[in-house]
């Protein structure tokens, strides 16, 4: 049985002063159902992805909140897996569909981050790490250590990191929903403020408000399908990792996906990968098998990850330029690739969503009806 994506919707991403978390959830849920050409009563269950509403807004119980948008109050679940919450909610929804319990469900991911200070957001995001083992760390610091390790072992350069950011900002220019519509040069990135050496301000994804939703069904349709999905975990603390130049959870999840589907990394035309920092995109394109280990930086610098290259990475602009409302990101990635397949712009796409500094990885392979 294959799961199809009947409809999808992504809200504007950015600093949305006029929209609450509830507004974002309502807009994405109702518009995704409209996009699927369904009546709301067709939704049998809801899966809500969110990380921070309990900390940032004192609002938990989001499943019931979204269910209350519907007159028939479908059963609803909230899924949290740090920045991988969105794709984990899709995984949970798939399991219910594959079990036969439901036939048509809604997955919605949302995050409202810009109502609080940077300090509060930094502390909230750090809760995705191992607080007792990484005391005093921030996510830029953890990814900076991964960048240092990659630079030492593979001679990855400052320009290679910057090339990821330049490319993703360029891609976002064509995405009206993206948070940023501004082109940057290598020099702009190289000269931006140091956050955690070697990572600079323009290596980092932003704080974002936004939501995305998809409608999944186990019924036979002509809509884009989920060809395979897999997820894996690794230690929360970097100190416990076997390697600091690869994310084992990503490699494991990708390997499972390719094995399930028979699709190879070379078959994939576009991928939305988790570029919370520029180094994380370089790690992802290596660990997903698009480029050999240690060659991701050079591939980025030489234009192999954009239109006209080997594979288009982050056509939406990625987390870096489209934005990163953490609970929404995994759903947005799938919605974006699904929409490209629906409009026959690509045949096969991949999404890759991370939680923490790679402690959770979720990979989805999407394709047109075979």
């Amino acid at each position: 049985m294959k799961i199809s994506i009947l409809g999808e919707y992504i809200t504007q991403f950015g600093e949305l002063w006029d929209k609450s978390l509830r507004d974002l959830l309502y807009e994405s849920a109702t518009q995704a159902i409209a996009s699927a050409d369904l009546k709301p009563s067709a939704i049998e269950a809801i899966f809500v992805a969110n990380m921070g509403a309990g900390i940032l807004e004192n609002q938990l119980h989001l499943g019931a909140l979204v269910s209350s948008f519907f007159s028939h109050h479908p059963p609803a679940f909230r899924i949290e897996g740090a920045c991988a919450s969105g794709s984990l909610a899709v995984v949970a929804a798939q399991q219910f569909l594959l079990s036969g319990r439901y036939q048509t469900v809604l997955v919605v991911g949302a995050e409202k981050m810009t109502d609080v200070s940077s300090a509060v957001n930094t502390k909230f995001l750090a809760s995705a790490g191992d607080f007792s083992r990484e005391y005093g760390s921030t996510f830029p610091a953890l990814y900076a250590l991964l960048a240092q390790a990659h630079m030492q072992k593979y001679a990855t350069t400052r320009d290679m990191l910057s090339a990821v950011s330049v490319k993703n900002h360029r891609h976002a220019l064509a995405n009206p929903k993206a948070q940023f519509h501004k082109a940057f040069s290598l020099a702009d990135i190289n000269q931006s403020e140091i956050i955690a050496d070697p990572l600079r301000l323009l290596d980092c994804s932003p704080v974002t408000d936004g939501a995305a939703a998809i409608v999944l069904t186990s019924k036979r349709t002509k809509s884009p399908q989920i060809l395979a999905c897999a997820y894996a975990c690794d230690s929360l603390a970097l100190a416990d990792r076997q390697s600091l130049t690869e994310l084992q959870a990503t490699k494991s999840a990708a390997g499972q996906c390719y094995h399930q589907s028979g699709v190879t990394a070379g078959d994939i035309e576009m991928a939305e990968v988790h570029d919370c920092f520029t180094i994380s995109e370089i790690l992802a394109i290596e660990d997903l098998g698009f480029f050999k280990k240690g060659r991701g930086g050079q591939a980025s610098l030489s234009g192999q990850t954009t239109y006209g290259g080997k594979i288009v990475i982050n056509p939406s602009g990625g987390l870096k330029a489209c934005g990163h409302p953490v609970g929404a990101t995994g759903v947005k990635q799938i919605a974006y690739i699904s929409n490209l397949i629906r409009h026959k712009k690509i045949n096969i796409g991949l999404t890759h969503n991370l939680g923490g500094s790679g402690a959770t990885a979720v990979v989805h392979l999407l394709g047109g009806k075979l």
Binding site: I55, V120, K123, F124, F131, S132, R133, E134, Y135, G136, S137, T138, A141, L142, A144, L145, Q148, A149, Q152, I194, I195, A196, D197, P198, L199, A237, L238, A239, D240, L244
Partner: protein, 86 residues
Amino acid sequence: MTSIPPPVYWRQTKNWQNLLGKIGTVILATTNFVLIEIEGQRYELMTVTGDHLKPKDKAVCVFRRLSLPTPSGLIEYGLKAHVLKS
């Protein structure tokens, strides 16, 4: 967001004295934060203000204030890596 509750702080820090004064080798370093190996175990630690540690530097675990004091709650102290001057 409130300050860390005292029992939580105590549980997190009760074993830190085992590392005090221990000397390790820096594996990776970024701004104010290092991955350091001490007696075969790896730890992630903040660095002492003003230190600029590099990979292969020797550093010693010291007790320092971790954050600026606030009008209420605990003043958080903990382990930091401090460059070992030869």
